[in-house]
């Protein structure tokens, strides 16, 4: 991407630019940020703000940024030591601490936080309640009024109840953190008839929806129900 390619990010609200860059595939994010860092002092500042907001202020991209002639000082060498590259640090940019904590609790990788903000469907590998073992895989997507949250695979052998309650609690926390009143739960490609009947008796409705690209695309059958997170 040349200088002309990055000019579209100039003279625009930073939050808007961050969302736009956050929605790009990872490789394009990296290329765009490098181009912004290299083009001018103004674009480098935009890039550093975007890197900080999107949690990309580490690794090779950060090394590139701190060596850059236009470096503004927003990112410092301490990041290279991972002092700042931790989920426990004070958040910067458009995300609040509650949002970062809720995304991390769901097992969403930090490099994908920006895609969540941009409304993309993002996969998660949710850790267990008691340890870091990944016990549930699925996806979340912010819609205008809800967090759509699909369970694709539960790998927990012994802690089914605890895992399901943790998933519900964490999805609710995610919705509240992003000011979404509803959570749309989805059970994806279920096979067991007893489980299906149980969910339908409890208000879940069958639907056929698109499989998120992160799970390979196509169509899938789901049972889905909307929950109001404002209810006690």
């Amino acid at each position: 991407m040349g200088v002309s390619g990055v000019s579209k990010y100039l003279f625009r609200p930073v939050d808007e630019v961050v969302r736009e860059i956050g929605a790009l595939p990872a490789a394009d994010q990296d290329a765009t940020l490098r181009a912004l860092l290299a083009a001018s002092r103004t674009t480098a500042t935009i890039a550093e703000q975007a890197m900080s907001a999107l949690g990309l202020d580490r690794g090779a991209l950060l090394e590139y940024a701190v060596e850059d002639p236009w470096r503004s000082g927003l990112l410092d060498e301490r990041s290279l030591l991972n002092v700042r590259a931790t989920l426990l640090e004070a958040p910067k940019g458009p995300m609040t601490r509650a949002q970062i904590d809720a995304l991390a609790a769901m097992g969403i990788e930090r490099e994908h936080f920006g895609r969540v903000l941009a409304g993309c469907s993002v996969s998660f590998d949710m850790p267990a309640v008691t340890d870091t073992q990944q016990v549930m895989g699925g996806f979340v997507q912010l819609t205008p009024d809800s967090v759509a949250s699909g369970v694709v695979l539960v790998r927990d052998v012994g802690g089914g109840m605890a895992t399901l309650l943790a998933f519900r609690r964490r999805a609710n926390a995610l919705a509240r953190a992003f000011d979404r009143p509803f959570v749309d739960f989805m059970g994806c490609e279920l096979k067991n008839e007893r489980l299906g009947r149980l969910l339908v008796r409890n208000g879940f409705e069958p639907a056929t929806v698109e499989v998120p690209e992160v799970f390979g695309g196509g169509m899938m059958d789901v049972l889905t129900k909307r929950f109001d997170t404002r209810e006690p």
Binding site: P25, M161, R168, C188, E189, L195, L199, F215
Partner: protein, 77 residues
């Protein structure tokens, strides 16, 4: 998605390919993409390969059956 699953395409058995992918550190979503892309599986079939290969259950149906009581309790909670 810029996936390169050529390494796993050389493994003839889907379960073995899945175990190799896990050993390589692929996350759940990437493993499912790999299985679907490499072995032309639907989402449900890819799930079944993973559950059986992990030793979680003998089948997807049997695995989900074990969750009926837990789901009922979670919905009542």
């Amino acid at each position: 998605m810029n996936d390169d699953f050529t390494r796993y395409a050389q493994i003839p058995d889907a379960a073995a390919a899945y175990r190799a992918a896990r050993a390589d550190g692929l996350k759940t979503a990437a493993c499912i993409r790999m299985l679907r892309d490499t072995f032309d599986l639907g989402l449900g079939d890819a799930k079944e390969v993973m559950l059986v290969a992990d030793g979680v259950a003998a089948s997807r149906d049997a695995h989900e059956a074990r969750f009926v009581d837990d789901v009922a309790a979670a919905l009542d909670d």
